[in-house]
């Protein structure tokens, strides 16, 4: 039993946090958010240079061979700063699938580009009207000559507008299969948007998109278990991200109630508010415990059913805590908490969206119950 970060993990987390404090203030973030691309290339390159995109890449590919536990503290730091760059999408989803399923050539080119920050990726998985289902239905791929033709549509592909390659799940005769698709290829149409929490996303339509044989990622029909694994891994990262945002919300609220005066006294002196903040603190601690559980289980390489059960338990707790803390933090800030001017409203939006990105509490409660 050991709940401390090791020296390397601690140092790395500290340097990421220090870096974000210096470069990702609330004002700086606002500029990034409203820029044309909605992300900072400089920041992306710096984070890559620090090693954030290399941590979970296998050592054989030049990465650090780490796991979700190694990413937990830096993801918390990113959550605290409300980083909008698509880290989870690159490290957790697309990068994970490329590392697990890519040919040696795909791995060496794409993972190198991921690690040095020169390219970004996005995972096109969700389909309209099918909520969180990971099995592709509306996107199909059929063999043509040496290659494939993709038809269909994906939605809410976070990070797609800035991605150099999309990892796309499609149904084939053999079953769910993954492909690498250049978003600028003929027949690929992106309909981009900004998400409620400031990320860039796109719905993607594929019309007769012709792919070469080398676009295939892994073996046809065998993708689903790997997709589930990658989404669980990404969910563990999301948990850490959310814990960071909750930590910020709690600290900011505590600070606010100690300084805000009404009736001639700081409102922190009111017991009704004190007890609510204690509940927020407990919710954050319980969420942190579950974040550790999720990361441990995805790293331990346990049976898929055990992994899914643990990740779902974690997400239920994280989503519940995120909802409670975000709502309470706005309530305790009063009207000011409602305004765009305060970071707390942005934290509210982030926590709300995280709570239903890879399945909401109900979705995971159902998955947990089915496996228990």
């Amino acid at each position: 039993m050991n709940f401390e970060y090791n020296e390397e993990q601690q140092q790395f987390a500290d340097s990421v946090q220090k870096f974000l404090v210096g470069t990702y203030s609330f004002e700086q973030r606002k500029e990034i958010l409203h820029s044309a691309t909605g992300l900072s290339e400089t920041l992306w390159h710096s984070l890559a240079e620090m090693g954030l995109t290399s941590i979970s890449v296998p050592e054989t590919e030049g990465g650090f061979g780490g796991g979700a536990l190694d990413l937990m503290a830096p993801m918390e730091a990113c959550g605290e700063a409300l980083v909008v760059e698509p880290l989870i999408d690159n490290i957790g989803l697309a990068g994970r699938l490329i590392a697990h399923l890519g040919s040696s050539e795909q791995r060496s080119t794409l993972l190198t580009a991921l690690m040095d920050g020169s390219q970004r990726f996005a995972f096109a998985s969700l389909e309209p009207g099918r909520r969180y289902e990971l099995q592709p239905v509306l996107t199909t791929a059929t063999p043509q000559g040496d290659g494939w033709v993709i038809q269909g549509q994906k939605c809410i592909v976070i990070g797609a507008p800035s991605a150099h390659q999309l990892v796309v799940s499609a149904q084939t005769d053999a079953g769910p299969t993954l492909f690498l698709v250049d978003p600028s290829a003929p027949g690929v149409e992106l309909n981009s948007s900004r998400t409620a929490d400031g990320q860039r996303s796109a719905d993607v339509r594929f019309t007769d998109v012709k792919l070469g044989a080398n676009a295939l990622l892994g073996k046809p029909g065998e993708a689903l278990p790997w997709i589930e694994e990658a989404v669980d891994f990404a969910t563990a990262l999301l948990c850490a991200d959310a814990v960071g945002a909750m930590k910020y919300a709690n600290e900011a609220t505590l600070e606010y109630v100690k300084t805000r005066k009404q009736f001639g006294v700081p409102i922190a002196s009111f017991q009704v508010l004190q007890h609510r903040m204690v509940e927020m603190m407990i919710a954050c601690e319980q969420a942190r415990s579950m974040s550790i559980l999720a990361a441990s289980k995805v790293d331990a390489g346990v049976e898929p059913s055990e992994r899914k059960r643990a990740v779902s338990m974690a997400l239920v707790k994280i989503a519940d805590s995120a909802r409670q803390i975000s709502q309470e933090s706005v309530q305790l800030h009063g009207g000011m908490g409602m305004t765009e001017e305060l970071k707390i409203s942005h934290t509210f939006r982030r926590l709300t969206m995280l709570g239903q990105r890879f399945g909401d509490a109900d979705h995971h409660l159902e998955r947990y119950a089915a496996l228990s």
Binding site: M1, N2, N6, M277, V278, M313
Partner: protein, 393 residues
């Protein structure tokens, strides 16, 4: 970062588990898992079995009969008790009075009381709360007047758990009422319950059980040798005891066992031709409690790990274990009772009838466990502690 127990810890766990399996009397376990109260004889018999093994006071210093276990082993030991359905020894003697004796007692007092506590020769109870002094303990009024070598104690205590079994009671009494701060002028006294002038009056709770009592002291004569620490410095002793938080206050082991039993029960109970466990509404409620307990277990382990590293007692944060632990226990009692539906209603057999040994206990258990968020510092007091000590409010 590693969530798993070490090989040594796991082998310790299996040692405790194996021993409990072989030595916990079936009739006592049966009472615990079916929510029947234990008699004084049950408690003392179990205490003697533990004492014979050398496990009645694991947390004491080795020279007084402790086991020398580290904090993790003690946590595992408590957890295994809960899982096995073994009753924890009432904390009043081995955990509370003994901690005070070990810290504040004179050598003579230690020699006189500790071996008997360890052996389970006396049943100890606690005399803290009074009708006018609950959460506000310093408001206590039970008076002890010194006359020569004796104190004369007059007043009332309330909520004395298992007071009807008590051989000895440790009490906070007021030895000086002319003080500026109410915390001053309080003393910590040990009183033999056989002393003339003591009356124990049962308070029957809504579950029908006799667990707590009122105790009346009418000019009870107590030798000054039974004063612990200095006269008028009892608050220091009481604070030490309150700060002596127990890591087991989350009751993770017991709740795990009860949740497993609840799952089994919900598999057997039938609703609309299907097991109750498959009813989405019931299943979701059960799942949420299971998830909350999982989180609490990991949070407990995080506190343990921190204590092990720092060698320091846990901070105020540990109050959250009591808050969540008792909320979980209460939620389980509610789901248990609901799981059996209308059959939760029979309460007492009359006219030579008979009622189900287990199901008839589920409503009383639910009633009884409302106490958990009230006792040992109500959950509101725990929140005050966190607010003040951890959040700096």
């Amino acid at each position: 970062m590693d969530l798993s127990y070490s090989a040594e810890e796991l082998s310790f766990r299996s040692e405790v588990r194996g021993w409990l399996d072989a030595n916990l009397p079936t009739d006592i376990r049966d009472k615990v898992v079916n929510y029947h109260g234990l008699s004084k004889e049950d408690y003392l018999r179990w205490h003697k079995i533990l004492a014979a093994k050398g496990w009645s006071v694991p947390h004491w210093p080795v020279e007084w009969g402790g086991t020398g276990w580290n904090i993790t082993q003690r946590y595992i030991y408590d957890e295994e008790f809960g899982l096995a359905g073994a009753p924890a020894l009432p904390p009043f003697g081995p955990a509370m009075c003994a901690s005070v004796l070990l810290r504040f007692g004179t050598p003579a007092q230690q020699e006189r009381f500790l071996p008997r506590i360890r052996a389970g020769d006396d049943f100890w109870v606690q005399g803290y709360s009074e009708p006018g002094a609950g959460s506000d303990l310093a408001a206590l009024k039970c008076r002890a007047e010194r006359q020569g070598d004796f104190y004369h104690v007059t007043g009332q205590k309330i909520w004395t758990t298992l007071g009807q079994y008590g051989d000895w009671i440790f009490c906070l009494v007021r030895t000086d009422s002319q003080v500026e701060r109410r915390q001053e002028g309080i003393s910590f006294l040990l009183i033999d319950m056989k002393t003339p002038g003591i009356t124990v009056r049962p308070l029957i709770l809504m579950d029908g059980g006799h667990e707590v009592n009122e105790i009346f002291f009418d000019d009870v004569v107590v030798p000054v040798q039974n004063l612990i620490y200095e006269e008028n410095k009892g608050w220091t002793v009481a604070k030490y005891l309150l700060g002596h938080e127990r890591m087991g206050s989350g009751s993770v082991g017991g709740s795990r066992r009860e949740l497993a039993a609840l799952r089994d029960l919900a598999k057997r109970e039938v609703k609309n031709g299907r097991p109750l466990l498959e009813d989405p509404r019931f299943r979701d409620r059960l799942s949420r409690v299971e998830i909350e307990l999982e989180a609490l277990e990991i949070t407990s382990m995080r506190f343990l790990d921190k204590m092990r590293r720092s060698g320091q007692p846990p901070g105020a944060d540990v109050s959250l274990l009591k808050i969540r632990g008792t909320e979980i226990q209460q939620a389980i009692t509610e789901l248990m009772m609901q799981a059996v539906g209308p059959r939760a209603q029979p309460f007492r057999a009359v006219d030579h009838g008979s009622i189900d040994h287990f199901m008839s206990r589920l409503a009383p258990r639910y009633f009884n466990l409302r106490k958990a968020s009230i006792y040992a510092g109500s959950n509101e007091i725990q929140r005050n502690i966190i607010a003040k000590m951890s959040l700096g409010l």
